[in-house]
């Protein structure tokens, strides 16, 4: 996993509530069984005219040249609700996003972010509105800087906001660790649990039945 410590980049405002993972990557855009080839389908229903094909909808914010190269997305409440598809995070990452700042996140999407080097930062509605207004006026000069370690978001004029991140999530993002390797090192604790549990709840262990 690609570590994430700091990012300074153009931000795109998409301050809607309940942006669901079907909107982020429609099912019809999940064309292969791999994790790649998804950037083209990101927000396809909004990004392309009629929601299909590849004719850009000029009104959609990601199609506006002034937001080119954006790596930070600003959203409203309950971002990433709906389907558990990790493809939503993979599509955002492949498009170039490294962070989503929103009022709240759906839990599965949030966890998927942490596991893919994508920062999900929770900010208040007023903070998001201020940041959005600033970048809306001049996205290229008003780039946002994020520092994961201190949980700080800053604008060039010095305004700053703080976000909270669980310590484990912070470590995962900053170190880009392979979680499975870490867990496999706990094998003795896992085996001790299973030995005890097999006696207490034998019906769970189907291979023994």
């Amino acid at each position: 996993m690609r570590p994430l410590t700091t990012v300074t980049a153009v931000a795109v405002p998409l301050l809607r509530d309940n942006i669901d993972t079907d909107a982020i990557i429609p099912s019809r855009e999940m064309r292969t069984t791999g994790r790649s080839g998804l950037a083209d389908g990101l927000f396809a229903g909004w990004r392309y005219q009629g929601g299909e094909g590849r004719q850009p909808n000029p009104e959609f914010v990601l199609n506006q040249p002034r937001f080119a190269g954006a790596q930070i997305l600003l959203a409203g409440q309950n971002f990433g609700c709906g389907s558990s598809r990790e493809h939503a995070v993979w599509a955002l990452a492949e498009f170039g996003f490294r962070a989503v700042l929103a009022q709240s996140f759906a839990p599965i999407f949030y966890r998927n972010c942490i596991r893919n080097g994508m920062l999900p930062a929770v900010l208040g509605g007023a903070a998001l509105a201020q940041i959005a207004a600033t970048v809306e006026a001049n996205p290229v000069s008003e780039q946002i800087s994020i520092e994961v370690a201190s949980g700080t978001i800053s604008l060039p004029d010095g305004r700053q906001w703080h976000f909270e991140l669980e310590a484990a999530a912070k470590t995962m993002l900053m170190e880009g660790l392979d979680e499975i390797d870490l867990t496999l090192k706990l094998r003795s604790a896992i085996e001790a649990f299973a030995t005890r549990d097999r006696v207490e709840r034998p019906w769970i262990y189907l291979e023994d039945l």
């Binding site: 292969t32 558990s84 990790e86 839990p107 596991r115 310590a167 499975i180 019906w203 262990y205 291979e207």
Partner: protein, 460 residues
């Protein structure tokens, strides 16, 4: 004396292997279920990293999401490129040794329909699947939740997950549901009142007289919609209804183990005095049949109500409706009965009861897609298939079907669809498709009327 504990706390503590630095807990995972849409990528990721499945006997996989539902199906599917999802998943499942319910298997069906049917999910167990509606299975008193593909890979490789403890919430439904009002309406009413993020990050226990009196299938419908409430999971304490339901199912505890398991399961209740971080009370008797008007499940009202003045422009425009418009009488183009929410035998029976001797309105496209091959067989044995087809519905093989648009089969362009599914998101059933979610009864009644209708007017 031990302090009173919630049902959730009992399951959580039972599965806690160790607390991890940074606030997470390593939890034992008892059952893993995959499907071909998001499971193949997890299995392949595992293989690419040179890892195996820790305990293949406790991992299952089914083909449900993009399989064809037309009669005589095989691996071909209308979704462009869809066949690769089926063949890749099959190959990966076979090489890792997990149990696969393949396209033509007599036990094939939607993951959250077949897992309870086969007794794979059990009270007090932890079950995960890379599918947001995994919370459905909490209806059996399990701690079941949806995850992403990376977490599925972790669970497959280690038999565990790193989990942050969710907040606890109890939603108590008092009273009795009125005639023609269903668990689907209970769920939509809850979401309409408290919002699509009302339960975010919570393990939600559904309780109260109106929940205890539901059959297992109704409980599954209620828990299913917890995903649309933002919840991590839903739980209902196992009781005699749960235990009777599980008895004799294929993967349920056999022989002498059954008695031991039941004894354990009977302890899985929230103790009197146990506290929840959030408590919500709902009066089941006050709930009407519910229908969504907008593009989030929270955009819903009772069938007798109108679209509220607070409705947002974006949702109104997409749905082609306006503030103050009554939902009842809004003309529809299509009707869909199916999905992990409402495709079980009792759902089909209740819809069929309204359709007997009636025809759907001219010009309406109507489909009934049973939730599993076993549901389909049982429905056919009762003659329900003939009721649906005589009324003008298509009768399909089981699968997720048109709950979402995967690029293949679609509703007519611009269609307004009344649907027993769980999501009325923009574009969920296809670009420009306008989805109204409701109970199977409301879908059947609306198909007959050709417009959104109150099912209570069709009961005989």
């Amino acid at each position: 004396m031990t302090p009173p504990r919630t049902l959730f706390a009992k399951i959580w503590e039972r599965h806690r292997i160790t607390d991890l630095p940074g606030g997470m807990t390593l939890m034992a995972i008892d059952r893993i279920f995959l499907h071909e849409r998001t499971g193949a990528v997890a299995l392949r990721g595992l293989q690419a990293a040179g890892r195996g499945v820790a305990d293949p006997a406790r991992a299952f996989c089914v083909m449900d999401h993009i399989v064809d539902t037309r009669p005589g199906r095989g691996d071909q599917t209308l979704m462009p490129g869809g066949q690769a999802f089926i063949t890749d998943t099959r190959a990966a499942a076979q090489s890792t040794g997990i149990t696969l319910f393949d396209v033509t298997d007599p036990d094939q069906g939607i993951v959250h329909v077949i897992s309870p049917e086969l007794g794979i999910v059990l009270p007090g167990a932890t079950l995960i699947a890379p599918d947001s509606h995994t919370c459905t299975q909490g209806a059996l008193g399990a701690f079941a939740w949806g995850i992403g593909s990376s977490e599925a890979e972790h669970a497959l490789a280690t038999g565990t997950l790193r989990v942050s403890q969710p907040r606890t919430m109890r939603v108590s439904f008092s009273g009795r549901l009125g005639a023609g009002v269903t668990p689907k309406d209970m769920a939509i009413a809850l979401i309409a009142r408290h919002g699509a993020a009302g339960g975010t990050g919570c393990a939600v226990e559904f309780a109260g007289d109106a929940v205890a009196s539901l059959d297992m299938e109704g409980r599954m419908t209620l828990c299913n919609m917890a995903a649309e409430f933002g919840a991590m999971s839903a739980l209902i304490a196992p009781d005699v209804t749960t235990i009777e339901y599980l008895k004799g199912r294929r993967y349920a505890p056999p022989g002498l183990l059954w008695g031991r398991a039941v004894k354990h399961w009977r302890s899985l209740v929230s103790d009197p005095g146990a506290t929840f971080e959030i408590e919500i009370a709902m009066d089941a008797g006050a709930i009407e049949p519910m229908v969504s008007w907008g593009t989030s499940p929270e955009h819903s009202v009772g069938i007798g109500e109108s679209i509220p003045a607070s409705a947002g422009e974006r949702a109104l425009t997409y749905m082609g409706v306006h503030k103050g418009r009554a939902l009842r009488g809004l003309p529809i183009n299509a009707a869909f009965i199916g999905s992990c929410t409402n495709s079980r035998l009792s759902d089909l029976r209740r819809a069929a009861a309204l359709l007997v001797g009636r025809r759907i309105a001219p010009g309406i496209t109507a489909l009934c897609v049973p939730g599993s091959t076993a549901v389909k067989r049982a429905a056919e044995a009762e003659g329900l298939d003939k009721v649906f087809t005589a009324a003008g519905f298509e009768w399909r093989e089981s699968g997720c079907s048109m709950c979402f648009f995967a690029g293949g089969e679609r509703f007519p362009a611009g269609a307004r669809v009344i649907s027993s599914t769980n999501r009325n998101f923009e574009g969920r059933q296809g670009p420009g498709i306008r989805t109204h979610i409701a109970s199977p009864e409301t879908v059947a009644a609306s198909a007959i009327a050709g417009a959104i209708a109150d099912p209570r007017e069709f009961v005989r």
